[in-house]
């Protein structure tokens, strides 16, 4: 009888070999088949989790979503900046990014934060966070705990645990379609190039490349500023973490294009501004910019993101503004 048990276990392991091989492939060679989005997440994750020899020089972090990523060109603003924003991220991902950076490299001297109001209202990119295995299991568990407390269904949807395990194990049900799509290793070179170029640009990345866009941004489709509780919790946690570590924090706003600015609901802008004013009171040491600038459509690569020309303009204006203030780098 005992032999039968062992025989069955042995055969189970043998029969599982193809599965193990597929999971291992998915785990070991993601750059071969994953999309550009993954490259952005990975580059950032690598940056914050690795000891940076140049932290003495790069002591300023830009934190936020795709608008942060695409609005500030570090090398045109100052030599000391690295942009760790991620497309589609919310304060949840950025809280852990900063926390990990501090754990590995110590606290940065200053942090500039840029989040679109939309990412306080919506977490539709949470699936990318899970898909790219951005958070560590313990971090993910912490987010789930918070989601349970706040009743957040985006994080705690039906079957979230099964999904979480499936993504962690890199099961073929989750990654095989993309492996086919990327022909397993065909994208490696292209992805590596992208990775290197983001690194060379110190985290800056263009999201829309059109020479102008009158498309509506995400905020146009929101009737009011109705933020998710879990996002607010993490925004608060992010600010607390930074202030507790003595980091100089400034909150900026990325511009809207003209077309969107004309259509966006005043309730949304007012609600967002009121929220930030509330935060100003809570964190008097942080300088908040509450007004969202409006740029001409020609500076936008798509409805939401500045193109390179727009980013140059925004970076330049920011630099001038800081210089006027007598900002010390």
């Amino acid at each position: 009888m005992k032999n039968d048990y062992i025989k069955l276990i042995k055969k189970f392991i043998l029969i599982s070999l193809p599965l193990i091989a597929m999971c291992l492939f998915a785990y070991l060679f993601p750059m071969g088949y994953m999309t550009t989005e993954y490259v952005l997440w990975t580059e950032e994750k690598d940056y914050v989790n690795q000891w940076q020899n140049d932290t003495q020089i790069l002591d300023t972090l830009i934190v936020g979503d795709s608008r942060a990523k695409s609005s500030i060109i570090p090398e045109e603003l100052h030599d000391s900046i690295y942009n760790i924003g991620i497309g589609g991220s919310t304060p949840i991902e950025m809280y852990y990014a900063v926390k990990n950076f501090i754990a590995v490299n110590g606290a940065p001297k200053r942090v500039f934060i840029i989040f679109a109001p939309y990412h306080f209202i919506n977490m539709d990119n949470w699936n990318q966070t899970i898909y790219n295995n951005y958070l560590k299991p313990a971090e993910q568990a912490e987010v789930v705990g918070e989601a349970i407390k706040t009743g957040n269904k985006v994080v705690c949807y039906k079957g979230w645990l099964t999904d979480a395990v499936s993504y962690r194990l890199r099961l073929p049900s989750k990654y095989l379609a993309q492996e086919y799509e990327g022909r397993f290793i065909k994208l490696k070179e292209e992805n590596q190039k992208k990775y290197d170029s983001i690194r060379a640009d110190r985290g800056y990345c263009e999201f829309g490349t059109d020479p102008g866009s009158d498309a509506e941004n995400y905020e146009v489709h929101c009737e009011a500023f109705d933020p998710l509780e879990i996002v607010l919790t993490y925004y608060d946690k992010l600010l607390s973490l930074l202030t507790e570590n003595g980091v100089e924090v400034r909150v900026f706003q990325a511009p809207f294009n003209q077309s969107s600015a004309e259509q966006v609901a005043p309730e949304l802008l007012n609600g967002y501004s009121d929220y930030l004013k509330g935060q100003m009171k809570k964190y008097p040491e942080i300088i908040f910019e509450t007004e969202i600038p409006v740029y001409d459509n020609r500076y936008f690569g798509d409805g939401n993101h500045l193109n390179r020309e727009g980013a140059r303009k925004y970076t330049k204006e920011l630099k001038e503004k800081l210089e006027e203030e007598g900002f010390e780098w």
């Binding site: 009888m1 039968d4 048990y5 025989k7 069955l8 055969k11 043998l14 029969i15 070999l17 193809p18 599965l19 597929m22 079957g159 099964t162 395990v165 499936s166 099961l171 073929p172 049900s173 990654y175 095989l176 379609a177 492996e179 086919y180």
Partner: protein, 501 residues
Amino acid sequence: MLFNSVGFAVFFPAVVIIYFLLERKRGSEVSPEAEENRRLPAFLKGCGLSNLWLLVSSYFYYMCADARFALLLLFVTATTYAAGLVTGNESADKRKKKMALAAGTIANILILFFFKYFNLLAGLFSEDPALKVVLPVGISFYIFQSLTYLFDTYKGKCPIERNFLKYALFVSFFPVLLAGPIERATHLLPQFDKVHHFDYERIRHGLIRMAYGYFLKLVIAQRLAIAVDLIYDNSTECTGYQLFLGSVLFVIQIYCDFASYSSIAIGAAEVMGFTLTENFRQPFLAVSCGEQWRRWHISLNGWFRDYVYIPLGGSRHGRFRKYLNVMIVFTLSGAWHGAELHYLCWGALAGFFQVMEDILKPLRERIVKGFPIHNALTGRLHHILQILLTFFLFVISAVFFRAASVADGVYITKKMWTDFEWNSIFTTSPFDLGLGVFHLLFVTAGLVMMIIYSLINEKKDAAAVLLSQKTAVRWGIYYLVVIMILGSTSIGAQQFIYFAF
């Protein structure tokens, strides 16, 4: 929790391991019943911890689908259990037994009727009814299964099961709970009294049955669903040939879908030591409509035969009554599938084909007799022709099963004949079916493997044949199947079609 989900991959081994540990304990006791009677609380006596574990697991499994309906499952169990105490009581007078049978049957049929037809009836009176009823998953299956207990205890074929927990396990046994096979009380209930030991050979055989089920579902059915949906969703733009092709693919899809569920259920039960009723026996090798239905969804068709057709008189009261009974049974079978009229049409059409087949039997026999050449080759050709004709008729009736409405079914059937466009046979690329190279490769290889398995299974037990092969061949096939299954998981887990019934 679908059979093809990660959840089940955790649930099933956990249930099996604990079940065997408890069964081992039960089996090692000199007198299991006596031992358990001493140790267990009164309400557990005669059930056994291992059966209790299966019961808890089955309810957990059901509650994963929709926790609310566990109460309904319990209610169905309680009513049929209570009625069974009377219908199976030999000392009770006949009138009482009849009353209990009627009460138990009517109560359960009403429940089924309410959940299946309420929305349809409400829709007749109001375009937007205030109340919309959600169909509890598996309700048609477990109600029919519990009714077998009532009918068989009434007929004296099945003894009363006094232990409520054991009876509850019979109704809710998780491998068959959501989509059958519909088990008879006489077949399944006694199996809960036996001790099931860990048996390596049996487990291996059961796992092969399960793997075959996963193969049918993931490699074939899920891919064919893409093509079938594309064709049926764009029926107005398709030629008659494309619609015919879509219908043929649908028949293969539904077979692979449903037979896969049955195969996984039978395999899962076999791993634990239970034998379930075979639900499919190579239906596409049938040479007549009658035989087709004896090979397709055997447990349901057997249910209708034993509990509807035969009580109605079967073929004992002349031809007209027989045909009427056939039509009644098939129409009821259509109604069992759903509240929509197209299911009724499907059932009626299937019944009609069977009646016509019987009426035309003498004529067919005369034609065959009058055929000038009779040798092995013509015999073989005749056999193949019969198989093809049976399959063709099945495809025609299945159009109404798949169509969204009767009007759609009529439209598609009509278009198949009037707008066939022979040249579209050559101009329709397989890539027009929404399947890429990988999918086409997988589905073609899958169909070839399914045909080989079916042809072997027609004569022998294909799983046993596989197990008797040399190690290299066996493991080559195992790996091929595993890789094909894993390579198909990227499509995403789709629900089994019969969950909707």
